[in-house]
Symmetry: C2
Amino acid sequence: MSTKATLSRRNFIRQVGAYGGCAFTAMTTLGLITQATGHGAELSGLPHIGSKSKNKVLVLGAGIAGLTTAYELGKLGYECVILEPRSIPGGRSMTLRRGDRIDETNGFSQTCEFDKGLYFNPGPSRFPQWHVTMDYCRELGVEVEPFVNLNENAFYYAEGDVGPLSGKRVRIREAKTDLRGYASELLAKVADQGALDERLSKEDVEALVDFLHYEGGLNRSNEYIGSSRRGYKVWPGGGFQEGELDTPYGLSELLKSGYGMLFHRANEYQYQAQMFTPTGGMDKIPIALAEKVKDKIVYGAQVKEIRRSNPGARVVYSHEGADHEATGDFCVCTIPPTILRRLQTDLSPMLKNTLNIVPFQNSGKIALQFKRRFWEEDDRIFGGLSWTNLPVGELWYPSSGFMGKKGVMGGYYIFGPASDRLGNMSPAERLEFALSNGEKIHPQYREEIENAFSVNWSTIPHIEGCLAHFPRAMLKTFYPLLIRPEGQLYLAASWTSHLGGWQAGAFEAARLTVKSIHERTMAS
Amino acid sequence: MSTKATLSRRNFIRQVGAYGGCAFTAMTTLGLITQATGHGAELSGLPHIGSKSKNKVLVLGAGIAGLTTAYELGKLGYECVILEPRSIPGGRSMTLRRGDRIDETNGFSQTCEFDKGLYFNPGPSRFPQWHVTMDYCRELGVEVEPFVNLNENAFYYAEGDVGPLSGKRVRIREAKTDLRGYASELLAKVADQGALDERLSKEDVEALVDFLHYEGGLNRSNEYIGSSRRGYKVWPGGGFQEGELDTPYGLSELLKSGYGMLFHRANEYQYQAQMFTPTGGMDKIPIALAEKVKDKIVYGAQVKEIRRSNPGARVVYSHEGADHEATGDFCVCTIPPTILRRLQTDLSPMLKNTLNIVPFQNSGKIALQFKRRFWEEDDRIFGGLSWTNLPVGELWYPSSGFMGKKGVMGGYYIFGPASDRLGNMSPAERLEFALSNGEKIHPQYREEIENAFSVNWSTIPHIEGCLAHFPRAMLKTFYPLLIRPEGQLYLAASWTSHLGGWQAGAFEAARLTVKSIHERTMAS
């Protein structure tokens, strides 16, 4: 592991060298890497700008990155102007509620018909506790609550070439308990038979078998014959109701199902317990941020040109039917690459080329309002996700408003080309897609559906895409071009971070940009 | 597994036969076992009592079992009187807030000094989603929120003969990722070498190795060399901050630590994700229940005698300085065995003997109010539990009020004889015990402590104990004596259920009792 870290730092230094012209800015980030306690650029100790004259910054876009840039620069004494084409802040950090309307670029139009009090986050909807997003929630007074990302009582459901479990709902806890049980038994057996003696000491083999006994829920002979961890057919109760266990699935059928390859998802560092979400909707974050910079935001301002002036930046934008020009000592652009590509800019050809190939992909979600929370009432699933190999991918149960009369589920969560195909469908067709797949897992769907709202990010005006994850080859070649400023012009967004698709990426990119601008200003 | 279920039913029938005199009541519970969809006695379909004359029921105790009995019998048309010695309902289902005072039977006295808005549940504090407790919350309109039982970012900490990790805080995610990684690698290796070929088909061996690759976070050679699942030394961020992994622990040191034998705890059927708790404190449940039966509760009523009359029951109790007598067609006694043993009763010698040996054990918790939430601010642990082999056992981080200025942690959670020893200490000594142990895990303890409140259940008046888990031998011999009514006299409590120590046990025991009383009444 330390090898990897060293390599990555070495690569980094090499990259910095390769783009010598902007070594100053890049090198400051090296300081960050070594100084950071783990959560990005430290800004709290920075001095106020004082009487420095280069204090005007143009910020393009009032999503998380733009709002954070203006908010943090404002603390340091800069004058910011945020140009935002929409009438609301937050960008993809959005929450849908009754009356919200979206007109897609492909002509489809939807108005949200949720009951009052219900909501859905079509963009980011959760964050792990290590994300800087948590720190902003604290600082901004945005209340957070646990987000239920893993619910052992939710379902796996697969169809097709997956063996005998095809078409059968399996509780996550059942698959996990059984497969871990069998695997633990297998390893305990071969350990007892001496198969590990070459690699491990006798004492370690014994301790390993002890571990496997608990890990697998094995019996006294270290065999897996089922376990209460997989749940009960009849749960323990009062009096003589001791509980009745059900028969475990077989090892072979579980292996064929492929469910074991899903266990790790909730263990990955972005998804581990405990995740959080703002109480009342994700847009509480951009709303709180926007409140901090409210007199700096120009809504309805559509950027048309981004120019480098010497030594600052100049932007042409339309607002209320007329073209305007704004100038700044710096410009921080958070406009998504899909849109930025089309603008008139003085960006270098290399950067323009890079913007053309940023893998900024689409994603789509559908919110389904049901008359009752059948997943809670009938299936006893309170929050969490069910996983399926059906094209809907994941079903999301709401992580708030438990036991309410009605509820809004996430009916699919799809990325890339599959979501593009879905985006070409009408909202009614998307709903039918969600229902015809989802009803295989929840037969109550058709009976209980009340209304729906589908968000396809690539056809949302002024956003036109969702997130970028860079292949390793790009990280070493093109990605660095997105990070370095061109003169006084910066790009800052989740797609200029190693946290693609997360709000934390936008926060962190903004913070690095703020730190870089400030260091340059103070050094000037 | 089906073997076990069959056996247990067979045993049950045998027990019923053995206590032939009360076969009627017992047999009705058999019906419940087979009819139940998993959550205890179904009461919703029962007919109203109508004009039946045997409609008066004495209920002894206004804890969860007593309140539920009166509430459910009330729905069916019975007249109940609840005699409760304390001035509040709920029994162990309690929430501590500023100003609450407890005078222990051993002479110690404490008044809660928490800041307004802070609280602590010294008794039950969480329930899994399958418990009937969830259904009562829905029915009573008690709002629930997720209880963070597993936080991968919390700590394991062990001292003593535990190898090189002794005295070192280890994040749960680190130990879990590393040990599962190594175990997966070991099994994948021997599988590749053909060690499983006798037991599994070639296809299954391949699928098993695929599973282990994901399960263990292995590299392409199926070796475990660390994983982002164990967290980062420097987390991924903006710009070039790709993240730096730390060196994994060694297999041998992890095995010696024993931490692997703790992983399963959060996977057991009583503790699996997702657990819940009432928003604002556990006593929201008894308060809501008590509201439903408020004109039936006599507070300050201390039962002295429990008599069988023919065919009903008679109870002598003191209230406001005088002795009173109450009679009923049935009597449901929820008084803890430690107290019931001392009362004058007409219980059979066999049942009295059984009450003397019910393993009703003590437990203790301490609430620690700190000036700030250093576990959140410094350690980024938002809810969950840390585990230690120090005598404090578990540290509980509050599962609500995240990011608040102050917070109340659980400083120990101890059972049995160890808690008895602690109960003999003064509150100040208990606090010192919590601090001197806990500060090894959180050095901030001494600096940040503001006040504390320790609850030792065996010295709480009118409760005098906490919970019973019956050894298997007792389940087959003495436990059935607690379940069967003696004439018109029933015992109903969590210790007459298979859910000892859980509120759900009290709910389920009450529901079975209600069903039995009603069936006898309707058949009469």
